[in-house]
Amino acid sequence: MSKDVLVTRPEYDYTTRYISAWSQKIIIFAESKGNLVIDLLKDRATKKEFESVVHKKNPSFVIINGHGNDQSVCGQDGDVLIEAGVNDDILNSRIVYALSCRSAKILGPESIKSGALAYIGYVEDFIFMYSNEKRGHPIDDKTAELFLEPSNQIVISLLKGHTAGEAHQGSKKFFLRNIQKLLTSESSSIESSALRYLFWDMKYQVCLGDQSATL
């Protein structure tokens, strides 16, 4: 198993553009820690490329960004990258973070059964808010930051050597801190409107498998 990190970053609608843009931060961080990052961006985020890279590079950490459902997570233009009962065994012996809707409901547990060490993801939709005026430059969007920084925290924690369970708990604490900040500060009602969605994401983030797994 290599120390390489595999990241999928489809970009074809506002949601995937935001998630992809914010994933740049974790790529920079991973590289600064000496990890080789395999970045499956846009048209490279296909099932064929994904499977090929996993087999060739054998990454210990797989970060899957993209639309999903209970059973699967998609790449560019909705191409299914991983599906429960089809190719979830590709995650065998790896730690996975899926920033994707609901994939921890079925795909997550099935991946663990197939040998994944840990699977961090969401059992419900990952919901976030963004500013319409920042859609052209998602990385400057302070509203989206409230959601995507706690998400990135999972990756940062794992790369720093924390366990999967600690990374998950750290992310939840980050969500809670953002919630508390909005509740207690003199934040505008505009920012406070994000509270309901922050709570949702915090509540439905889960860590399946070996809580003590590390990279």
Binding site: C74, D125, F126, Y130, R196
Partner: protein, 69 residues
């Protein structure tokens, strides 16, 4: 039925406070403006039901004091 309508009205009232210049991404369901979210709640479709669930989850959490550790 009456309670269901009251919940719907409460959720719509809360959604009306959302800012106009923001959108909400609900994964593969799509991105929604404030008015679109309200319309889905009024239509009582799958997205509307999800929106109600999100709001009620949050209200219950406030009631239970979950944010003040």
């Amino acid at each position: 039925m009456e309670i269901e309508q009251e919940i719907k009205n409460l959720v719509i009232a809360r959604l009306k406070t959302l800012p106009e210049d923001k959108s909400v991404s609900v994964g593969s369901e799509g991105d929604f403006t404030k008015d679109e979210l309200i319309q889905h709640v009024e239509d009582n479709d799958e997205i509307g039901k999800k929106v109600i669930e999100v709001e009620m989850n949050f209200l219950h959490a406030i009631k239970e004091g979950l944010f003040h550790e």
